[in-house]
Each structure stands twice: as structure tokens, then as C-alpha cells.
Symmetry: C2
Subunit: 219 residues, 2 copies
């Protein structure tokens, strides 16, 4: 019995570019302008790691207060810039198919309630679906904790879990969890980057994955 | 005598993610929501090609009026989202170095005056620098016209020109112009994507290129 463990942002819901731009604005407002591509390539890692990476870029440590203020400003800008969450093509149908076919699955995200609630609603994720968020574990991606916690709750063996994610951080965390992984291009990473990080297949979006479930041995 | 022909957005100035998000918002407002990554991978191609690509995504033709309206809304959102243009690391110094060392160079962009003027000002590009914009040629990237026109004005042989760009469209246009090309990661494409499109070197940003000019045979 194979199980699918999904990342959320950039994998099921089209939020990556709004996140990048919200971070870019929030950092610039604090006088900490950082290249957009460096933010993009760090979306999906834990907030603590992200903050340390930002500090390294600007060449001085960020105080906890500054980090918290910038993080809060990012959240406000993100909600302002993207009031509606848009599921990626095929995401709703894929999740419905998994439910109808009783294929075990869950969502494991570095995001937090209540920020992720609008995304879950847009995706039509019903109560009872396993959703692990940042608050459920001590360490976020690329640590394996989110995926391991999700796998425990789904109740399927590690070796039978496929992680589905758009970011290198998902794929690294999957390897560290001992799980196979599948890359999704909708987060804006290139095919090669995802393969190099350990994905054994790469699909464009959830619709493309749905059409290809047999390539994963899931029917 | 080697010459460098630079793309502008994403190569010298940090505007790609603001462009992506402005397009995403402008399209969504018109009921034509498209995945962010598909917009990202089309930034830098000609506006006409971009519009046709959008129409193909949504599965119906866009009227010229709709296309013009969305393009105008994109411009307004872009200026609102990014009132200040931020040169990429090392861009100002690199251009100054090229001027001081009398190394022939120019800028060739799918953008237009007056939209690009703020970027040229932020980069400290003096009057007299060869700048070819969309209005100077019949066809934009990935057609070779912008680079060929720039090369003519610089007055260096085609075989001695290196195109420097962040997008696959720059590198394709360079090949079609018969020029070698160098990729820049700051537009958010991956290393492999740029190499596969024909770049013979890839650098992170203009600062990294500046440190590596000897790898291009430019001293």
C-alpha cells in the first residue's frame, strides 16, 4: 500500500511567487533588500533557517525581534497581495481521487495554522485528512520531522511513502526520512534541480501527477 | 576584442519576481489566472509571444484589446509593487569597469522606454551607452533582432559578442544571432536550464561575472 505525502505551497496551491514577492517587500522595507531568486530558492525551508540565511546574505545577525517583525510583515503583505488562494491545476481532483480510492495520503507543510487554513479550504480538504503543520513538530524542512510525523499518522511504512514537493527542501527532507520523492515544477524549480535533489520523477503540476499515478505504482 | 551584450531585467536589475507577480495579478483580475511558474518561465520573451502563450494556456484566443488592457494593467501593477529598481549585486561596478577599460558593451532588452528608464538610471548607465529596446526592432526575443541590432551599434563582429542573460529566451536568441552566451542565475532559472539552452558559463549575478571575466577571455 503506497501513500502520498504532499507539501502544500507550490505543490498543491499556487502561492510561491506571492510568498517570494511578499518576503522581498518585507525585507526591503526593513532595509534588508535581497535578490528575488535567493528568496525563491529558500521558500519552503523552516522560518528559522530562512532568517539565518537572510542574515548571512546581509552579513550581520538578525535579532529575534527583527526576525519576528519581518516575518509578521511578510504575513500581512502576503494576505494583502493574494487574498484568494488558487489551487494548482488538478489538485482538487487528485485529492478527491485519493479519497475515493482510499489511497492513504496527507499534507505536511512548513506553514502554520491559521495561515494555511485558506489553502486547505480552497483545496476542499475535508476534516479528518492528515495535515501536519509547523506547529506539530520541533524542526521544519529540510529536517525530516514533518514527513515522519505525517507518515506515523497515516499509518503506512516509511518505505511505502512518496513525498510530493516542489522545493529542494521537500526532497532533501524526504531523503532524510528514508522516503522516495516526486518533484513538481509548479514551484518554479527546474527539472534538473529536482532530480539532483533526489526526485525519482518530476511532474508539471498535480494534474500531470494524477495522469501518471501508474508510474508510481499507484492505481 | 570581445563585447558583452546584456539583457536588463533579471540580469542587471532585480525585477523578475515583481514582473511575475504583476502579471499574475493582472491576469487573475481579468479572470485568466495562470500558474506563477508558467509566467516566470516566459518572462523576457516578446509581449506578443507571451500573450499567445497565455491564450494557449487558457484555451481561447485573446483579443488585441484584451491583450493591450492586461499589458497596461501589468505595467501599472509593476510600478505600484516595485516603485524602486534595485540593481543586482555588482551590476553598477561591472558596467563602470567595462566603461573604464573601454570594453565594448551594450544593453538589449525586450522592455521599452519609458518603462526601462528607471532601471537604466538605477544602474548609472550614462548617455551614449548602446541601449536597444523593444521599440528599436521588429521582433523581440527569442528572435535574434535585439542582439544583432546591439552588435551593429557597438561595431564588434558577431563572433566576438557574448550575450549575458538570465532567461532561456536570451540564450536562444543569442544562438540564433550566432553569438556565445553566458547565463545569470538571478532571474530564477536553474543552472542546468541555462546550460541546456546554450550558455557556456553560468554565474550567480553580475558580481560573480565580474570576478570571472578572465574565464570569458576578457581582461
Amino acid at each position: 500500500m503506497r501513500a502520498l505525502i504532499f507539501d502544500l505551497d507550490g505543490t498543491l496551491i499556487d502561492t510561491v511567487y506571492a510568498h517570494v514577492f511578499a518576503w522581498q517587500r518585507a525585507l526591503a522595507e526593513s532595509g534588508l533588500a535581497i535578490d528575488g531568486w535567493k528568496i525563491h530558492r529558500r521558500i519552503g525551508m523552516s522560518g528559522g533557517l530562512f532568517t539565518r540565511a537572510v542574515a548571512r546574505e546581509i552579513g550581520k545577525p538578525l535579532s529575534d525581534e527583527d526576525a519576528a517583525r519581518i516575518q509578521s510583515r511578510h504575513g500581512a503583505l502576503f494576505r494583502e497581495l493574494l487574498p484568494e488562494r488558487r489551487p494548482l491545476p488538478g489538485a482538487i481532483d487528485l485529492l478527491r481521487h485519493l479519497r475515493e480510492e482510499h489511497i492513504p495520503h496527507g499534507i505536511a507543510t512548513s506553514g502554520r495554522h491559521p495561515e494555511i487554513d485558506a489553502s486547505l479550504t480552497a483545496l476542499g480538504v475535508p476534516a479528518g485528512t492528515v495535515v501536519i503543520d509547523r506547529g506539530d513538530v520541533l524542526r521544519a524542512k529540510p529536517e525530516p520531522d514533518l514527513f515522519l510525523k505525517c507518515q506515523e499518522e497515516i499509518g503506512v511504512e516509511i518505505r511505502d511513502c512518496y513525498v510530493v514537493g516542489d522545493a529542494v527542501w521537500d526532497l532533501l527532507a524526504a531523503r532524510r526520512a528514508g522516503m522516495l520523492s516526486v518533484g513538481i515544477l509548479a514551484g518554479g524549480y527546474g527539472w534538473d534541480e529536482l532530480i539532483a535533489a533526489g526526485a525519482f520523477r518530476v511532474y508539471r503540476d498535480p494534474a500531470d501527477l494524477h495522469r501518471s499515478l501508474d508510474e508510481l505504482g499507484i492505481i
